[in-house]
């Protein structure tokens, strides 16, 4: 990485708009690298990493204590607790860091400075996205990796495959939430508004939509296929179902809706989940790029 091309300093007169893809890639990487470095220098990154590792360990130890040393392992509270933790922390982390990125640059006047350089707006958004994605990946893998190491050291039982799956799927969830966060960031005028909106969106995705669906299932007696279809709209639910499917190879633990999904789609249900998450990654990011390219950014 020491030989990372630095388009900004090496070719100050080139116009970003007419650059060919290699140049685009270089510019994107430059922005991404800067963003990653800034993120890793920042306090929020280490705060999230540390809290993620500590919470993960707490969840694992508490659930191991719950089994009372029976020596049994299985898809029990450990994985369930970690999924729960990821569902709470990762979207918050990704949404807020995405929301803060462009909006705070704009507020500090950084954005005007960056855009004065020979980089296109698309490159800035994409680069910032990649850089933050890298920071999130570092955060997740450090947090869950430390957790796995300490579990192994203490001899607690967790399946290694499930930890790796959980990390990978958490990253996908983080990418989707980051994408949504960047969209908020592009739309918002001020950083505080962007972060506030992100927190509200987080609240809606984590609690409100699920509670509304639950109420719907109870009051309107929604049909199973409707319930399952609606749950596919929420990326958090998709992440949860995919994690269960990856770790457990089946969804029948989720009762009638899970059985319906397995009966209808079989193992192809994973493709459905992948498609839903990828859509959540691409669509908000695409919208953010389109809006950013059109709007007056500063």
């Amino acid at each position: 990485m020491t030989s990372l091309p630095t388009a900004v300093t090496s070719s100050p007169n080139a116009s970003a708009a007419v650059r060919v893809p290699p140049g685009l890639l270089r510019n994107v990487l430059t922005v991404a690298h800067r963003e990653l470095r800034d993120a890793i220098r920042s306090r929020w990154f280490w705060l999230y990493t540390l809290s993620f590792a500590i919470l993960g360990l707490a969840v694992s130890f508490v659930s191991a204590a719950g089994t009372g040393g029976t020596g049994l392992s299985g898809f029990g509270r450990t994985t369930a607790g970690l999924i729960n933790l990821v569902l709470l922390v990762v979207p918050l982390m990704a949404l807020t860091s995405g929301a803060a990125s462009i909006a705070s640059d704009r507020e500090r006047g950084m954005l005007a400075y960056v855009l004065a350089q020979p980089v296109s707006r698309l490159e800035v958004v994409l680069g910032k996205y990649l850089g933050l994605a890298g920071a999130l990946l570092a955060c997740l893998s450090l947090g869950l990796g430390t957790c796995a190491l300490i579990l192994a050291w203490k001899g607690l039982r967790t399946s290694p495959a499930s930890i790796l799956w959980l990390t990978g799927l958490s990253l996908l969830l983080a990418l989707a939430m980051l994408s949504l966060g960047m969209l908020i960031s592009v739309l918002a005028r001020r950083a505080s508004v962007a972060v506030g909106t992100a927190i509200f969106v987080w609240l809606a995705l984590v609690f409100l939509t699920d509670l509304a669906l639950m109420a719907g299932a109870l009051a309107l007696r929604l049909r199973i296929e409707t319930l399952f279809g609606l749950s596919l709209v929420n990326p958090l639910q998709v992440f949860k179902m995919w994690s269960l499917h990856a770790v457990d190879a089946t969804l029948d633990v989720l009762g009638p809706a899970g059985l319906y999904a397995m009966d209808t789609f079989g193992d192809r249900v994973a493709i459905l989940f992948a498609a839903a998450l990828v859509a959540w990654i691409i669509l908000p990011l695409g919208a953010a790029m389109a809006l950013f390219a059109r709007r007056s950014p500063v």
């Binding site: 719950g66 040393g69 190491l149 290694p160």
Partner: protein, 471 residues
């Protein structure tokens, strides 16, 4: 012995009525009539030796593949010397034993017909005191089919069914009116059921059943001992129906997740004792329907471990008179459920000073006597909603579920009634059989995945720090 039971004669009459009713059903029909006429076929090499032998002889069969159907009509001991394959060529039954005191040992018997109406079987036994030992039955519709063949020994056989849809499979093992039979150390897979019909005083010990419909199925069979078996990955592990007097001890019932998916199902079963079993990862660990059937003896559940089942124990509202003591309830998503309305008042979850171990018990033990200082009450709002609307299971493991549970704890108005109480919950789990504890995923693998993850994070941080040319 059965003070409150119905009169034996009337019970028998009732059984006959039920049996005739069942006979009309294709699935659980009484045995099909034995298709005779096999004697008209030309005899193969083993058949000729049987014809030539005198009662009581021992025949040793040389290795080879024998394509023939056998009818053993005199008391003989027939032993395979090496790899002896009897191939049915994909038609009819293969071995039919019509004389008592026959021993068949060490054969590979394979390739029956697939006629479910004629119940094509690898070995059909129609006489008492037959021993089937260490045979391997492959690619068969029915495996071992005992009809009115009491006092038999079925030991050390391996029975593998055909690769058919479950509805078109036959029973790996079937006992029909075959009392006092010993079923020991057999492996049965890819069959329909291993089933006991009207067979009493049978001992089923050390068997292993997987990928079947019912690992073991008791119908109207009394005084059965089921010891140290393992039934894993079947639709249902053990299903007891209309049975009186069952000792079910030391069995392992894991991952039975068919549409019913019970580790142990009890339907109108009476005077049973279920002890020291490991019941894990099933859709429902135990499913109790109308059992115990009479008040002669409480249904006894002692020192079992219910772990990681979707539901630890499901009660139909009709279930009353069960006693649970010293069981471990470990991390079942729903520890105890009532299917339908009603409480579990007629069942007890503690006796004297001993309750059960509940992994979700939140109390503590100040005086250090191993018993929690507070009553264990099961009353979570989400569980309660889930029992009513199973579709809500979709929201398991989500923060929203916990929000609901928090509301249930915080606001007394919506707090559900306690499903059951355990006055003396145990603080420590009751010891498990050693075989269970040994299973753990390799520590190295977890450590390696941890190192790999930390490595990825470290690389990214290093990448961010190295180049500073942009600034």
């Amino acid at each position: 012995m059965m003070p409150n039971a119905v009169h034996p004669a009337s019970a028998f009459a009732a059984v006959l009525v039920v049996a005739t009713a069942f006979a009309g059903q294709a699935d659980h029909a009484a045995p099909a009539p034995v298709s005779g006429g096999r004697s008209t076929l030309p005899l193969g090499p083993i058949g000729m030796r049987i014809a030539a032998a005198s009662p009581g002889d021992t025949l040793e069969i040389d290795p080879g593949i024998y394509r023939e159907h056998l009818r053993i009509d005199k008391p003989l001991t027939i032993v395979a010397r090496g790899d002896v394959v009897i191939d049915g060529g994909g038609s009819g039954d293969i071995v039919e034993i019509v004389a008592p005191d026959v021993t068949l040992r060490g054969f590979v018997i394979r390739n029956t017909g697939i006629d479910l109406d004629k119940e094509n079987a690898a070995v059909r036994v129609l006489a008492p005191r037959v021993a089937l030992e260490n045979n391997r039955l492959e690619d068969i519709l029915f495996g071992i089919d005992l009809r009115e063949a009491p006092d038999c020994r079925i030991v050390g056989n391996r029975i593998g069914g055909k690769d058919l849809d479950v509805a078109r499979r036959g029973d790996g093992l079937r006992l029909w009116r075959s009392d006092r039979t010993l079923v020991e150390r057999n492996t049965i897979h890819d069959g329909r059921d291993a089933i006991l019909w009207y067979s009493s005083n049978v001992v089923v010990r050390g068997n292993h059943g997987f990928d079947c419909r019912y690992g073991l199925h008791l119908m109207f069979s009394d005084h059965i001992t089921i010891l140290d078996n393992e039934f894993a990955g079947n639709s249902v592990g053990i299903y007891l129906m209309y049975t009186t007097g069952v000792e079910l001890v030391g069995n392992t019932l894991v991952g039975n997740r068919g549409p019913s998916g019970y580790g142990i199902g009890l339907k109108e079963t009476d005077q049973f004792s279920i002890r020291d079993n490991l019941i894990a990862g099933n859709r429902s660990g135990v499913y109790i329907d109308g059992s115990p059937f009479t008040a002669a003896k409480p249904g006894e559940f002692t020192r079992n471990t219910f772990a990681y089942n979707d539901v630890g124990c499901t009660f139909l509202p009709s279930a009353r008179g069960n006693e649970f003591t010293e069981n471990n309830f470990v991390d079942n998503i729903d520890q105890v459920a009532v299917a339908g309305r009603g409480a579990l008042d007629a069942n007890r979850f503690w006796k004297g000073e001993r309750g059960n171990f509940w992994s979700d018990y939140t109390g503590y033990d100040l005086n250090n006597d191993g018993v929690g200082d507070f009553v264990h009450e099961s009353q979570t709002l989400f569980e309660n909603l889930m029992d009513k609307r199973p579709a809500l299971r979709l929201f398991l493991f989500s923060p929203a579920q916990q929000a609901v549970e928090f509301v249930g704890r915080a606001i007394p108005a919506v707090r559900p009634e306690a499903k059951f109480t355990d006055e003396v919950p145990l603080m420590r789990p009751v010891a498990l059989p050693a075989a269970v504890v040994e299973r753990k995923p390799a520590r190295e693998a977890i450590a390696l995945s941890g190192i790999a993850l930390v490595g990825v994070g470290g690389l990214l941080i290093a990448a961010a720090r190295t180049s500073r040319r942009t600034s």
